[in-house]
């Protein structure tokens, strides 16, 4: 697929980023060019996320003034306010942040090292694999997941399904690369992921036809993506997954930047591709599977957040920090919308896809106009 690049030729950065002198940041051999505009945008994203998070906690049937929220979080407030916030709103809002951040981060990692805007965990079949496991428990336990076994079983089964799918895809994609070594090529991995995803989707549909109508309805709600059942117990595993992946991404920041130039160039730059790629992919899979276990397969966040971040920052690759923030903002924002605007309880997955889809279309129209895609 790729023609080996001669060692002397390093791809030119796009014209708009080339300027005379830029301030640079160097810490222990890690160095990056500071772009003031990018830092500004990231600061704005953080501010937006904090504002939405506070609103998400304050809003609901039992309205709490924004000023009181801070009181309660620092230990004050009335008993009723403490109960509502600490037992229900805070874990739910935190789950939204963590799930969105994990999906955005996982999407940014997979898209940048596999060089394909479609290579997000949902397209690759990771989240569908997690769904297969979860739906098997929901339909198989016969109940509407009220028992303790079912409540414990769904997240565990989702995690197992996601990890198993990722391992299968990785093993199937293992083979001879263009340079003649053994390894995994991003291109092949994406294609096999698409195929496995289609097969798994049909397994999920088939499971739904075997279920009773009420089990099917329950599974369908989970498959749409919902934060209704989130509490501290769903939050912890997802937060762990996000933390692990953030650490891996921070440690491999240099590799990630190099991998964007393509496997051959990366090799020339002295990076051990297969090991690094496998570690990064594993981290992304864990983040995506644990996020799915917490809130269901929230489609589209992993695909769209990095693309949105890329266009906001106007970078050639998918920016890691900004993608994570955009992912978190979209899910918290979606949770806020789903609980305020509609008279009925609309699952959060409907909002992320319902808003994200048209937004990606808008971005496409805009970039097409400028003919720079």
């Amino acid at each position: 697929m790729t023609v080996p690049t001669p060692p002397a030729v390093v791809p030119d950065p796009p014209a708009r980023t080339v300027r005379a002198v830029r301030p640079a940041l160097r810490v222990h051999g890690f160095s990056t060019v500071l772009r003031i505009s990018a830092l500004l945008i990231i600061a704005v994203l953080i501010a937006v996320l904090l504002a939405l998070f506070a609103l998400d906690i304050a809003t609901g049937d039992f309205q709490i003034p924004l000023g009181r929220v801070l009181d309660v979080l620092t230990g004050g407030g009335s008993r009723a306010q403490r109960f509502v916030i600490m037992d229900s709103r805070l874990p739910r809002a935190l789950t939204a942040v963590v799930v969105g951040a994990a999906l955005g981060l996982a999407g940014a990692i997979t898209q940048s090292i596999l060089h394909n805007p479609l290579a997000s965990p949902d397209i690759l079949g990771i989240t569908t694999g997690a769904s297969c496991g979860a739906v098997a428990v929901m339909v198989g336990t016969g109940g509407t997941a009220t028992g303790v076994a079912a409540a414990l079983g769904v997240p565990a089964a989702a995690l197992a399904g996601g990890l198993l799918t990722a391992i299968v895809i990785y093993l199937l994609a293992w083979g001879r690369t263009t340079t003649g070594d053994s390894g995994v090529m991003g291109f092949r991995l994406v294609l096999i992921g698409i195929g496995v995803n289609a097969a798994l989707l049909s397994v999920v549909s088939w499971q739904l036809t075997r279920a009773t109508l009420s089990d099917a309805a329950h599974a369908q709600l989970w498959l749409t993506g919902s934060l209704d059942r989130s509490d501290w117990s769903t939050l912890v595993p997802a937060a762990l997954g996000l933390a692990v992946t953030l650490v891996v991404a921070a440690v491999s920041a240099r590799t990630l930047a190099a991998l964007r130039f393509g496997t051959d160039t990366t090799r020339v730059l002295g990076v051990r591709i297969q090991t690094q790629q496998a570690i990064l992919l594993a981290a992304a899979v864990i983040a995506a599977a644990l996020a799915t276990a917490a809130a269901g397969p929230l489609g589209f966040v992993g695909l769209a957040a990095p693309q949105i971040a890329r266009r906001l920052l106007r970078t050639p690759g998918e920016p890691i920090i900004a993608s994570t923030l955009v992912g978190a903002i979209s899910v918290v924002g979606a949770d806020l919308i789903s609980r305020t605007i509609f008279p009925i309880d609309v699952p959060v997955g409907v909002i992320t896809a319902g808003v994200g889809g048209p937004f990606l279309l808008y971005l496409l129209v805009r970039t097409n106009r400028k003919a720079t895609l």
């Binding site: 289609a198 049909s202 739904l208 369908q220 889809g357 496409l364 895609l373």
Partner: protein
Amino acid sequence: MPAVATTRRRRLTGLVLLAALLVCAVIASIALGSRSLPLAAVFDALTCPAGLPLSCPADGTAGQIVRELRLPRTGLALITGLALGMAGALIQGYTRNPLADAGLLGINAGAAFLAVLSIHLFALTAPAQFIWFAFAGALIAGAVVFGVSAIGGGKASPLSLVLAGAAVTAFLQAMTNVVVLLDQTALNSYRYWVVGDVAGHDASVFRQVLPFLILGAMLALIAAPGLNLLGLGDDVARGLGVKLGRSRALGLASVVLLAGGATAAVGPIAFLGLIVPHLARSITGPDYRWLVPYSGLLGAIVLLLADTTGRLIARPGELQAGFTLAALGAPFFILLVRRRKLVSL
């Protein structure tokens, strides 16, 4: 030019073999099932005029099974397989993406959404009633995807086409979820439709989609020669006098008629439109004038065999064709990807 002669001979031999295979697949589909029928009974039932039961020697259960269950089912598998195969070849040609299919362009999601919405709003129950809505949904979704990716400069690049397809699919899927969460009746119809099944439809569905599929197939044959030029790249094609906009509009119309009609009738069938063009290409080479009709023939054969297999392996119950096809298609697809030289378009 011996190479040209060899290719032509291979194409003609392939055509004869495929036609024979198709006949075998049709007979197998009529004869085999939870109750297998002797070939003589199949033949009698087929040659016996349906309106005159008294003159039929082998009437009774066998004749009834053949005429009321197996024939409509076989006919539907035949025409939808043909349509999905041809549509697959066209979509891959227009997107220059060897892995494109109707699902990627939002056609399945569009059909599902309007079908579910009409079931919810008008309390429809039979596929014959909501097929028109599914069809309209496929048409609108396909037009939006092509339209969005073509805005600005009038060119629909393969990448923006696929991204637009993903965006439209995600949006429509979310809207479908809203409806089925609100309405258990719609969920019940939807969960059986979405697995993709050629069984359980009466003959009226066949008659409803047939005219659209015929029209779509004719447009596909007209569009095929232009695809050979489009494969050379937009600029070269324009230089050779291809009107890009008109050519894409023709392609869109035929893809929507074929894939939209078939999906509306039997539900989304994964892998068929994806795999069949690759099989066909190994016989015909890259010439779309041959590739498109070959893909149609192969699509019909593969769907018929998948449906028959699903009836045989799960006796006395049966597996839906969509599921059988996924179980057979996924390994094949992975083999295809793993082959060292993947066809690039």
